[in-house]
């Protein structure tokens, strides 16, 4: 397969999972497409600096959205590999300068992988009065057992918003160990982190979302939606630490188990400042009978009802 064919194949899947048709084609598109450790394509516009270099087993990328730049369209990052085996380590350093607004969509595509390591080690620095959303969607093969190691450290400045969204619902999860650590250090900063994972077969899904609210009046919502079927196992470790005056946080975890799957959740709410308030809700269990019966009474089969419920939860 030529590099051009690899790029076309990765883009086709990215478009199927949320990228707009012109995301990798138009003159004002901002993107990077990486296969393994090869940068197949990249495009930038004034106001956004992308410096990417190939390493032995992946890439090292630094992306900066300059002060006051508001990007009207998402930046698309496509990291993938079309082979069965291998490894890809992505080192990323994202800076959103003061007053900038941007949405990044990361497409992690491994449609044929059976034995693969995909690691992301990223830092995100958000200045003041800025807004940044990082949405990561994975596409894996149905049979593969990929090791997925996304590790991110995020710092959110005054009056800024950070939205982090991680979705791994298509294909097998494999062995996921997600570790997000966010510090909302700026006054009145806001953090919203959502993780959606669908484990199958003997997948293992470990999700660790930690948010420290050290900025006065900062706030956070951490949501985890994990569905575990067959003999998969899931562990959610979530923590919000209200460490400043007026800090507000809420942690919301729902794990659904089917078959012989097992789930565990350890939501930790901590108020290390006396004027902080952090709440949580966690539910683990099978899908409630009344939800299934409610849909069956409309003529859906039991399996169809479960599909509707699971799809909604992971949407």
């Amino acid at each position: 397969m030529t590099a051009q064919e690899q790029m076309a194949a990765l883009i086709e899947i990215a478009e199927r999972t949320g990228a707009a048709h012109e995301a990798f084609r138009s003159d004002d598109a901002i993107y990077v497409v990486v296969h393994g450790n090869e940068i197949l394509g990249a495009h930038q516009v004034p106001g956004v600096r992308i410096e990417a270099t190939e390493t032995d087993d992946g890439i090292d990328a630094a992306i900066t959205v300059e002060r006051g730049v508001v990007l009207p369209k998402p930046v698309n990052l496509c990291f993938g590999h079309l082979g069965k085996e291998g490894r890809q380590v992505i080192q990323s350093h994202i800076v959103i300068e003061d007053g900038a607004k941007a949405v990044f969509m990361a497409h992690c595509i491994f449609p044929n992988a059976t034995l693969f390591l995909h690691a992301m080690e990223g830092t995100i620095e958000i200045g003041s009065g800025a807004s940044f959303a990082y949405r990561e969607v994975h596409v894996h093969s149905r049979e593969g057992r990929i090791e997925v190691r996304p590790v991110s450290k995020v710092r959110v400045g005054p009056g800024s918003l950070y939205e982090g969204d991680f979705t791994l619902v298509e294909g097998r999860v494999g062995d996921l160990n997600l570790d997000f650590d966010v510090e909302a250090w700026g006054a009145k900063s806001r953090v919203e982190v959502t993780s959606k994972v669908y484990g199958k077969y003997d997948d293992t899904c470990k999700v660790r979302d930690v948010v420290r609210l050290t900025g006065e009046g900062s706030s956070a919502l951490v949501k985890a939606r994990v569905v575990l079927s067959d003999a998969s196992r899931g562990l959610f470790l979530g923590m919000i630490d209200g460490a400043a005056s007026g800090a507000r946080g809420h942690l919301d975890c729902t794990e659904i188990v089917q078959g012989r799957a097992q789930a565990e959740a350890s939501p930790v709410v901590k108020a290390s400042h006396p004027e902080a308030e952090v709440t949580h809700e966690a539910a683990i269990g099978r899908i409630a009978d009344d939800k299934i019966a409610g849909l069956m009474a409309k003529g859906l089969s039991e399996d169809e009802s479960v599909d509707v419920i699971v799809s909604g939860l992971l949407r």
Binding site: K291, M296, A297, I309, S311, G312
Partner: protein, 246 residues
Amino acid sequence: MTALLEVEGISVAREGKKILNRLSLKAEEGQITGVLGRNGAGKSSLAYAVMGLANYRPQEGRIRFRGREITDLSITDRAREGLTLAWQHPARYEGVSVRDYLRLSSKKAEEKDLAEALSLVLLDPRSYMDRMVDKTLSGGERKRIELASVYLMKPRLAILDEPDSGVDLLALGEIMQVFRLLAREGRGVLIITHREDVASQCDRSYLMCSGSVVLEGTAEAVKRYFLSQCEPCQEPAALEREGCSE
């Protein structure tokens, strides 16, 4: 003439306690049939038994729908035969929009049909179509969406479990018109309620107490009896002593 629904002497026990006791009733096409009773009389259990919920399968008796015995059919099969239930407390579905939820009832429904159904239950389609059927809806809003869903399904028989709960009094009259509309289309409606003013708007009513039907008659007659005799709710033995069993 064969009734649309015939419940013949069903008994249901849960955890060793009989919750329906040799109960019989009928519902006809083109009619609104009421089942009136105090809280705890077994009205919702009757609805669950007719709909086929796993824990409410009759130990005796049978249920016939359009002349066919359905006692052993699954909920899905009963629904595909044209039977449905609007629950007293409808479940919530995270991530499912009102539009998608309504479409589950009628795959062929067009946007205008969905909008019409919402309007009938006094919800503005522009405000509600893209909302989620989750905890952001109030109990009353969720209830109305369930009724809109039943309307769209165009069932042969709709069982409505306490359709008035969570719905304000002013809206109730208009929502009753939706049920009347279903009946006018030749469909059957079985309304389960503890409110005599709701039951009095039915064509025919049954009075339930302690898992049994204790009276059948015109809606007005059942309402009169209910108001004069049925408070507080008594055990069947006491009712028998007072001569008000079937």
